[in-house]
């Protein structure tokens, strides 16, 4: 079965209104970045106890979801499920757009964002951060190449191979992102080899959730209903990924609870941590995983259920990032185990942090940038399947039967 792709017409008032709204958000994000650059991070809510704040939550969520957004394309190329092939270009586009949005926030939250060239020309290869710079650039290049093989008739023979490479790269990339936190030996809540694989699992869930949301939005706005069987497939996959998230979170906390030296941080995260405890139990676990699982597994899969479940998964994902990144810093470093400590620098105390409006603007600006790239690319390039109500059977898969615009 040949795959026919199309571009979004993008001539409706709604399209331009959405575009305008996103541009406004991006402009506000740029304003926030400019202000932080000129006034310094004193204009944010961050301090010397919480040095990675809300912008990191947005940035890491976007980066993790970016690699997960490639799930659908990987199902087609790496796992040979032909039914997903028509959706692969959209999957690749979302991966690139979200990575761009996430990296923009990460870059603009640097103390010296104008030194980007320094980061691209000075390397310490013992740093997982450095490896991530390589992994991010490589991911962008590989997915761009993958997209090209899907769109360019003469390159279609390479599509499956490049797709497989992109899949392997994205697993490495997300392991690297998780390891940024996993390699922090001094932080009680972090410094665990589990964090690499955990982030891979998070990415599977968050990325697919964003993909399903975007797909359903396109289906709704273009009045092209999505094939019920495809929706059911995507939601089954989403349910599996949500269950996997619950599994890794359970293993992480059970492991910590087994170690006496981790009891303090576990008590903080699970019982006494105020906003972090609430975000963990209520938003991440209950709203972000348990409720979506119920919605996905019980009853007939409908678009409304799908939208609700995937929105909740994204909300839970952001809560998880906030707890992982900010909560881990709020819990004081244990420099003197077995001692109560006090100092002028917050030793022994739970650090306080209230994100400033500028941080919200910067983070939301990054999300808007990802959406803007997606919206423009969908209009300028032929990335959407001609039909959303019919997909090729999986058996039809053959490497030679590539995409055709």
């Amino acid at each position: 079965m040949k795959i026919h792709l199309r571009a979004l017409a993008g001539t409706s008032t709604g399209y331009y209104l959405t575009l305008g709204g996103l541009l406004l958000l991006v402009a506000l994000g740029a304003y926030a970045a400019w202000t932080l650059e000129h006034l310094g991070h004193v204009a944010s809510g961050m301090n010397n106890q919480i040095v990675w704040g809300l912008p990191h939550m947005f940035a890491v969520f976007l980066i993790v979801a970016a690699s997960g957004a490639l799930n659908v394309a990987s199902m087609a190329s790496a796992f040979g499920k032909a039914a997903y092939k028509p959706l692969a270009p959209l999957s690749a586009l979302l991966a690139m757009a979200m990575l761009s949005g996430g990296l923009a926030v990460l870059l603009l939250d640097l103390g010296r964002p104008e030194r980007l060239l320094v980061a691209l020309t000075h390397f310490n290869f013992k740093s997982i951060f450095t490896w991530n710079v390589v992994l991010y650039s490589g991911f962008m290049a590989l997915v761009a190449a993958y997209l090209w093989t899907m769109l360019e008739w003469s390159a279609k023979a390479w599509s499956a191979r490049v797709g497989l490479a992109a899949f392997l790269w994205r697993v490495t990339l997300t392991t690297g992102t998780g390891s940024i936190f996993g390699f922090l030996i001094g932080r009680q809540a972090l410094g665990s080899a589990l964090l690499g694989p955990m982030f891979v699992v998070y990415s599977l869930s968050y990325g697919l959730a964003v993909f399903v949301l975007v797909l359903l939005a396109i289906s709704h706005w273009t009045a092209k209903p999505l094939d019920a069987a495809m929706l059911a497939r995507l939601l089954r996959l989403q349910a599996l990924f949500v269950a996997l998230v619950l599994f890794v979170v359970l293993v992480y906390h059970l492991t910590h609870l087994y170690f006496a030296r981790q009891h303090g941080v576990e008590r903080f995260l699970l019982l006494d941590g105020g906003i972090y405890t609430m975000l963990f139990w209520l938003v991440h676990l209950l709203l972000g995983n348990v409720l979506p699982l119920v919605l996905l597994l019980r009853g007939r899969p409908t678009a409304t259920r799908a939208v609700l479940a995937t929105l909740l998964v994204c909300l839970g994902g952001m809560a998880q990032m906030y707890v992982t990144i900010v909560g881990s810093q709020a819990f004081a470093l244990v420099i003197f185990p077995g001692y109560a400590v006090h100092s002028s620098f917050g030793d022994g105390a739970i650090a306080s942090y209230t994100p400033a409006a500028l941080e919200w603007l910067l983070g939301l600006g990054g999300m808007a940038l990802a959406a803007l790239i997606t919206l423009l690319a969908l209009k300028w390039l032929t990335l959407l399947p001609q039909r959303l109500d019919r997909f090729p059977p999986d058996e039809a898969y053959a490497p030679a039967a590539g995409a055709q615009p």
């Binding site: 199309r6 571009a7 979004l8 017409a9 001539t11 409706s12 709604g14 209104l17 650059e37 006034l39 310094g40 991070h41 004193v42 010397n48 106890q49 040095v51 990675w52 640097l110 103390g111 010296r112 964002p113 320094v118 980061a119 691209l120 020309t121 000075h122 390397f123 310490n124 740093s127 997982i128 951060f129 450095t130 650039s137 290049a141 761009a144 190449a145 090209w148 769109l151 940024i180 390699f183 922090l184 001094g186 932080r187 706005w221 092209k224 470093l333 420099i335 077995g338 001692y339 109560a340 006090h342 100092s343 002028s344 620098f345 917050g346 300028w380 390039l381 032929t382 959407l384 615009p405």
Partner: protein
């Protein structure tokens, strides 16, 4: 949003919607982005193979011994001296830098209290150096851990990685800096062991201030010289490193802890 009319594959493609051109340009840009770090890497590797011109003596390992029995609770002479020497705020707020602070500790089981200064521990295996993406965090050959303010991008990963909370991020514009102590908004900093004084043959300001208070709780010297006062004391008394479990081989040791 109203339904859009799909474009069909038979429509002529306007030049600006030429996928091939667009993707080729994107690929070229991406290739450039990927290659430039690689080229730079070769230059960097060649530079790293040449001897450092820092002037630091590789035979020396500077260290500090803190005797917590001699460190008086409430005395913050070392902290004030550090702030004066390095041009740091005397009454720091939550966003201000603190290169050294006094920590009051009370053992939960026995109630025993102690007071001690904590600063950069100048580890032989410094996590801040390991995680720094640009190499701005570095260790001199004489063991002093510093930040190169010219290539620090302000990512704060070293602040996250330090198990001693010894690093601070500069949150706002600075004025009235000391000529010997370069600092910069948006970069990370920490105790330099008063490297500018050490290179002149003097002791760090905190050690000098402690001695001036007749506390004598801090001893500075060369850990590699068996005849130095610090080495003799380390040989004579039981001392500990903070977070010994991490095995970072710290240059700062504590007696009486």
């Amino acid at each position: 949003m109203k339904p859009n009319t799909p474009a069909t594959s038979s429509e002529p493609t306007p030049p600006w919607r030429d996928r091939r051109g667009f993707m080729a340009a994107g690929a070229a840009a991406m290739t450039g982005l990927l290659i430039s770090p690689g080229v730079r890497l070769i230059v960097f590797a060649l530079a790293a193979s040449t001897p450092a011109a820092s002037g630091a003596n590789p035979k020396v390992r500077w260290g500090l011994l803190v005797d917590t029995n001699a460190c008086a609770p409430g005395c913050d002479a070392c902290v004030r001296a550090c702030r004066t020497e390095n041009g740091l705020p005397q009454n720091p707020g939550p966003t201000d830098a603190q290169w050294i602070r006094k920590i009051e500790i009370r053992e939960l089981r026995t109630g025993k209290t102690q007071s001690l200064p904590v600063m950069c521990q100048h580890c032989a295996e410094p996590p801040c150096v390991d995680v720094c993406p640009t190499g701005a965090s570095f260790k001199r050959v004489d063991g002093i851990v510093l930040v190169d303010k010219h290539i620090c991008i302000g990512c704060r990963y070293c602040v996250m990685a330090c198990p001693y909370k010894a690093r601070s991020f500069v949150h706002e514009p600075l004025s009235g800096q000391k000529p010997d102590v370069p600092r910069g908004q948006g970069t990370v900093e920490g105790c330099t062991l008063c490297v500018h004084r050490v290179d002149r043959g003097e002791s760090p300001a905190c050690v000098q201030a402690c001695a001036a208070q007749a506390q004598g709780a801090m001893v500075f010297g060369d850990l590699n010289d068996p005849q130095s006062e610090i080495s003799l004391r380390l040989e004579r008394y039981a001392t500990r490193a903070l977070r010994e479990d991490l095995q970072l081989n710290t240059g700062v040791r504590y007696a009486g802890l």
